[in-house]
C-alpha cells in the first residue's frame, strides 16, 4: 500500500506531538523511541523511517520552531536596527519561539550539540547549526560584514550561543530576564568583533 505525502506529514506531526508530551512527562532521559512510537500508534521500525534517533526528533522540533521565529524576526524588524540590535532580535526571537519546549530542551540540546556527540546525533544538530549560522551570515551581510567569516569567529560565536542557550534553558528569573541581559551584553561584544572584521 502506498502512503500518501499527506499521510506521511500527518504521521510525522503526530510523532513530534507525542514526543513533546513524553519528553515533558517523563523527561528527556526516560522517554525512549519505543515509547514515542507506541504513543504515536506506529511500529518502532516505522518511527525510524521518519526520524533516525531521538535527537533527530528534538532537532526537528527545534527546526520547526526556528522556521516560525524567522518569520517573527522579519516581522518585528523595523529596518533601522544596529548590528547588535539585529543579532539580539534574531537570537531572542528564536529563544522565545522555543519557550514552550524550554524545560525539555536543555538535556536534548546537550545530546544534540555536544562536540563529543556521536556522528548521528551531531548530524541532527548540524542542520540547526547551519540554519542559524546562515541566517547570521545574512544579517551580517546586510550590515556590511564581509563573508565568509573567519572560522575562529564563527566557532566562538556558536560556542557562546550554546552557552546562552544553556543559560536560558535553566534561567529561573522572571521572563528569563537574566538571559535578556546576558544576551544583550554578549551580542554587543560579538557585534563589535564582527564589525572589527568588516574594517
Amino acid at each position: 500500500m502506498r502512503i500518501t505525502a499527506q499521510a506521511k506529514t500527518a504521521t510525522r506531526d503526530r510523532i513530534l506531538a507525542v514526543a513533546v508530551e513524553l519528553f515533558r512527562e517523563q523527561g528527556w532521559e526516560n522517554a525512549t523511541t519505543r515509547d514515542i512510537a507506541a504513543a504515536a500508534g506506529i511500529a518502532n521500525g516505522t518511527l525510524f523511517n521518519y526520524f533516525p534517533s531521538r535527537e533527530a526528533i528534538a532537532a526537528a522540533l527545534l527546526e520547526e520552531a526556528m522556521a516560525g521565529s524567522d518569520v517573527e524576526f522579519h516581522k518585528r524588524r523595523t529596518g533601522n536596527e544596529s548590528l547588535a540590535e539585529d543579532l539580539f532580535l534574531y537570537v531572542w526571537t528564536g529563544l522565545k519561539s522555543l519557550r514552550k519546549y524550554r524545560k525539555i530542551l536543555a538535556p536534548a540540546a546537550d545530546a544534540i550539540f555536544s562536540p563529543l556527540a556521536q556522528p548521528a546525533r551531531q548530524e541532527a544538530g548540524a542542520a540547526v547549526r547551519v540554519r542559524h549560522l546562515e541566517a547570521l551570515g545574512q544579517i551580517l551581510a546586510e550590515h556590511g560584514v564581509p563573508l565568509p567569516l573567519p572560522a575562529v569567529l564563527l566557532q566562538l560565536y556558536w560556542t557562546l550561543h550554546l552557552g546562552v542557550f544553556a543559560f536560558w534553558a535553566a534561567d529561573g528569573s522572571p521572563h528569563q530576564e537574566d538571559t535578556l541581559a546576558l544576551l544583550d551584553r554578549s551580542l554587543r561584544l560579538f557585534a563589535g568583533a564582527f564589525l572589527k572584521e568588516a574594517q
Binding site: 575562529v152 544553556a166 521572563h175 572589527k196
Partner: protein, 475 residues
C-alpha cells in the same frame, strides 16, 4: 577544521589578567577592584565590555560550566583538551561580561557620594563607571515592556520614542504619548538589576567590612545598611511612584515647584510612567545665560523644596542636577524620587535636633551629638571633636545667619564645607545616626547645585514654616 587555542585567544582583545579562580564571591570582587584600580576604564564599548566583569555573570559561568563539563565525561584526553579550550574561551568571555548598568554602576555612584563609608580608591574607580553605560536598544526595551506591561503594551501609547531622551544609572527614559493624549516620560529599568544589586552589595560588604574594623565599626555597618536599603528602594519603581505622589501632595498648592503626575496604571516595579515635564537640566539652563534674578528665584525654590519636604518628614536625598528641571515659565521641576528618605519618628527627632543645634549655644550641640552621634562624655571633652562639629554646624547655618541675600556662588563657602567634612572623615569622626549618611549627601548636593547656579538667597524672605520649634527662630 577546529581552530587552535592561540587562534581562538587571538580573536579577542588582549587580556593580561591571570585566570580568575572562582574561589569566593569576595575574592572575585577583590579581583575586579584590583583590575579596575590598576588601569583606566577603557573608552570603547567593546573593550569596556571585555574588561569589566560582573559577579552576576558568575551564575552564567557556573551553569555553563556544569553543562559543558558534562560533555567531557567519556572523552579521551585529546578530545577533552580540545573541548576544554572552547570552554575556557567561552568562560573567559562570560566572566568579562558584566552588568555594566548594575550594582557596579550603582555602587560607583554611591561610592562617590559616601566617602565616609567606602575607601577613596575604590570610590574613584567605580565612580567613573556609570557615565558611559551603553543605552538599551529598542528591541530590548520592547521585550522589557512586553514583560512588564503585557504583550499589548503598544496599545497603551499613541506614540513611543525609540530613542531614550535621558539615561538613568539603572535604566533609561523614553518619551511617549498615552492613548489618552498625555505626554509622558517612561523610565525603564535594565533587566535583572534588582536581584543583582542585592547580591553584589552583599559581596561588596564582605570585602569592605574587614577594612573598617575600629571603634566606628557598628556605625559604619549601619550606614552601609542604610545605603543598601536606599539602593533597594531606588530599584523599586512602584515605591518611587508612591514617593512622587506624596511629594506632589506637598507641592500641590505651590505655583513655583512642580512634581509630575504618576500614571499608576502604566507603572510596575521596573517601569515608571510620569507626566513629561519640558525643561532644562542645570547645565543647559546655565547655557542660556540666565540673569541673576532668575538664578536667585530658582535658588529659593531649591531651598524651599528642601525645607518643605523635611516638614513632611521626607528628604530629597539625591539633589544632583539630573533630578531637577528648570522650566521656561520659571517653575522648578522635581523629577526623580528614587532616592527619598522617609523619616521615622526617631529620625525626625534627630532632624529636629540638628535644626535646633547652634554652635553659640553649646548645650544644643552636646544634645545633638549625644543623641545622634552616640557621643560619650570623653568625646564631648575632646576639643578637636567638638571643634570640628561646631565648624560643621556653623557652616550649615552660615547662609541663614547672613544678613540679606547669601551668595551661594561663593566658592570659599563650599570649600570650607568640604574642608570640615574631609577633616571629619580623616579623623574618623563619622559615627552618627545612619539617616545622616543621606542627609549630609543632600546638604552637599544642594549646596553644590546652588553654587553652580550662582544663586543669592535671603533666608528671611523664604516662606518656611517653623515646624522644629515654634519658639526658636529659623535654623
Amino acid at each position: 577544521m577546529n581552530p587552535k587555542l592561540d587562534e581562538l585567544m587571538a580573536a579577542f582583545p588582549p587580556d593580561s589578567d591571570a585566570e580568575t579562580e572562582a574561589n569566593s564571591a569576595a575574592a572575585q570582587l577583590q579581583q575586579i577592584f584590583a583590575d579596575l584600580a590598576s588601569r583606566p576604564v577603557p573608552a570603547s564599548s567593546l573593550h569596556r565590555l571585555w574588561t569589566i566583569g560582573g559577579l552576576s555573570t558568575q551564575i552564567a559561568l557556573a551553569r555553563l560550566s556544569l553543562w559543558m563539563r558534562g560533555w567531557f565525561a567519556n572523552a579521551d584526553e585529546q578530545q577533552r583538551q580540545a573541548a576544554e579550550t572552547n570552554l575556557r574561551v567561552a568562560l573567559k568571555i562570560f566572566h568579562r561580561l558584566g552588568y555594566l548598568r548594575g550594582a557596579l554602576a550603582k555602587l560607583g555612584q554611591a561610592a562617590g557620594d559616601f566617602p565616609q563609608v567606602i575607601p577613596a580608591q575604590i570610590a574613584d574607580t567605580l565612580d567613573r563607571l556609570h557615565f558611559d553605560a551603553p543605552p538599551m536598544h529598542y528591541s530590548l526595551i520592547r521585550e522589557l515592556l512586553e514583560n512588564e506591561l503585557g504583550v499589548d503594551w503598544e496599545g497603551r501609547f499613541q506614540a513611543f520614542d525609540k530613542q531614550p531622551f535621558a539615561a538613568a544609572s539603572i535604566g533609561q527614559v523614553h518619551r511617549a504619548v498615552l492613548k489618552s493624549g498625555e505626554i509622558v516620560a517612561v523610565k525603564i529599568q535594565y533587566p535583572g538589576i534588582a536581584r543583582t544589586i542585592d547580591a553584589d552589595f552583599r559581596n561588596l560588604s564582605a570585602v569592605l567590612f574587614p577594612m573598617r574594623l575600629g571603634k566606628s565599626w557598628d556605625s559604619v555597618k549601619e550606614q552601609f545598611e542604610a545605603i543598601r536599603q536606599m539602593l533597594q528602594q531606588e530599584i523599586d519603581y512602584e515605591q518611587e511612584a508612591q514617593s512622587v505622589r506624596e511629594a506632589r501632595a506637598i507641592f500641590a498648592n505651590d505655583n513655583g515647584i512642580v512634581v509630575p503626575t504618576v500614571f499608576g496604571a502604566h507603572c510596575t516595579k521596573r517601569v515608571l510612567t510620569m507626566q513629561y515635564l519640558p525643561g532644562r537640566h542645570l547645565p543647559n539652563f546655565l547655557a542660556t545665560h540666565p540673569n541673576q534674578d532668575l538664578r536667585n528665584s530658582f535658588g529659593a525654590k531649591l531651598l524651599l523644596t528642601w525645607y518643605r519636604m523635611h516638614a513632611a518628614r521626607m528628604n530629597y536625598a539625591d539633589p544632583q542636577s539630573g533630578n531637577y528641571l528648570f522650566l521656561d515659565d520659571g517653575r522648578l521641576g522635581l523629577i526623580d524620587f528614587g532616592c527619598v528618605q522617609h523619616f521615622t519618628s526617631q529620625e525626625f527627632e534627630a532632624l529636629r535636633l540638628s535644626y535646633l543645634s547652634d554652635d553659640t549655644i553649646p548645650e544644643t550641640v552636646r544634645e545633638l551629638l549625644r543623641r545622634t552621634c552616640q557621643a560619650s562624655d570623653a568625646d564631648l571633652a575632646n576639643e578637636e571633636y567638638l571643634g570640628l562639629m561646631n565648624d560643621a554646624i556653623r557652616w550649615m547655618k552660615e547662609p541663614i545667619r547672613h544678613p540679606g541675600p547669601f551668595d551661594f556662588g561663593d566658592e570659599e563657602h563650599l570649600r570650607r564645607g568640604l574642608g570640615w567634612f574631609g577633616r571629619l572623615i580623616a579623623k574618623r569622626y563619622t559615627r552618627s545616626d545612619p539617616m545622616f549618611v543621606y542627609f549630609h549627601r543632600s546638604v552637599f548636593g544642594l549646596r553644590s547645585l546652588l553654587y553652580r547656579l550662582g544663586a543669592r538667597v535671603d533666608f528671611q524672605t523664604l516662606p518656611i514654616e517653623n515646624w522644629w520649634n515654634p519658639i526658636v527662630d529659623r535654623p
